[in-house]
Symmetry: C2
Subunit: 185 residues, 2 copies
Amino acid sequence: MGRRSDTRERTLRTAANLFRTQGYHGTGLNQVLAEGGLPKGSLYFHFPGGKEQLAAEAVTMAAGELCEWVRATLAAAPDPAAGLDAVVGGLAEHLAESDFQRGCPIGTVAPDGGEVVRAACVTAFATWHSVTRDFLALHGVPNADTLATTVLAALEGAQLLARTTHDTAPLYAVGATLRTLVRGN
Amino acid sequence: MGRRSDTRERTLRTAANLFRTQGYHGTGLNQVLAEGGLPKGSLYFHFPGGKEQLAAEAVTMAAGELCEWVRATLAAAPDPAAGLDAVVGGLAEHLAESDFQRGCPIGTVAPDGGEVVRAACVTAFATWHSVTRDFLALHGVPNADTLATTVLAALEGAQLLARTTHDTAPLYAVGATLRTLVRGN
DNA sequence: ACAGAAATAGACCGGTCTGTATAGTTCGAC
DNA sequence: GTCGAACTATACAGACCGGTCTATTTCTGT
């Protein structure tokens, strides 16, 4: 019964990497297969739902890892401001390392793609939101829910700005502002 | 010397509308022509740079109108909080009216597209940023530059979230947070 | 060893993509 | 009226798209 190859997972990883840099419509299936040296014949065996299913699963996987990293990063911080700073720093570093190519695995794919992909993105955003909200609430920050939404939006927008301008400054600007917000003044 | 038809402008308008809902790669040239009942023979006459030039000019045009609306909306507000509220409300309304299809004309196209499009988006974001910064500075809000960047990022991200979840709540959450930020506490 | 499921190979389909080439039409200037 | 520029029509190229198909190989359970 067990799987006998890791093709499915490798396909998912390759697809996730391409989707987050080129978006849904900008990434071709042939490119995914070529990039990962993947067998063409087995794409629709592993993903009978086609491109849509592949993208949705790729988003879910990548978003899961992202949320886990955010959770761990926040948990390791002594206070809310430090936590947000660490997240901002990590995102900025990751963006700069890839020469501003690899955007947010959720936000890059969400606007394109059909209903299946959109549903996956909604779930992913919800997870990220609850992670942030719980962290803020744990530290007694008021309006944790609304604030978490703002944090999410600001980070998503900052990544978009940074990627567009090829500059991490927007990320750090947002980080500075969020820090003051969370100090509860 | 003068133009003898309005084809060029109509092409631009149609393209702008489609790009902001479907993104760069999600919109085909044939679709633009069909949607606007535009003459197929003259596309590369008016836009010898092809799709890239068309998208860049469409972004520039749409962003110009957006910035002008933002400037007017902010200028009509008695204080910073009211100004941001009005902008948020307008964006939310517009998004809901189009059934969450029409996103930000800049942010929707920025991630895809080549260098020409990216350059147009950078300029557009810069204009929007300076409009916001000047407004905040005029009202004596401290850290106007950094804050304007955050406002931009938060609005861009909120539009992405709203479009993804089919719900204007993220926009209003961001609005509520920004309002407290700008009260200068 | 053998049966059968899991997985892969790779050709192939119709359609659409951006972009080009060329011929034709419409219009203003003189 | 004529000429040339502005504009449009149409056909087509070459590549690539997502997706389907059948044949074949690879592995597992018995």
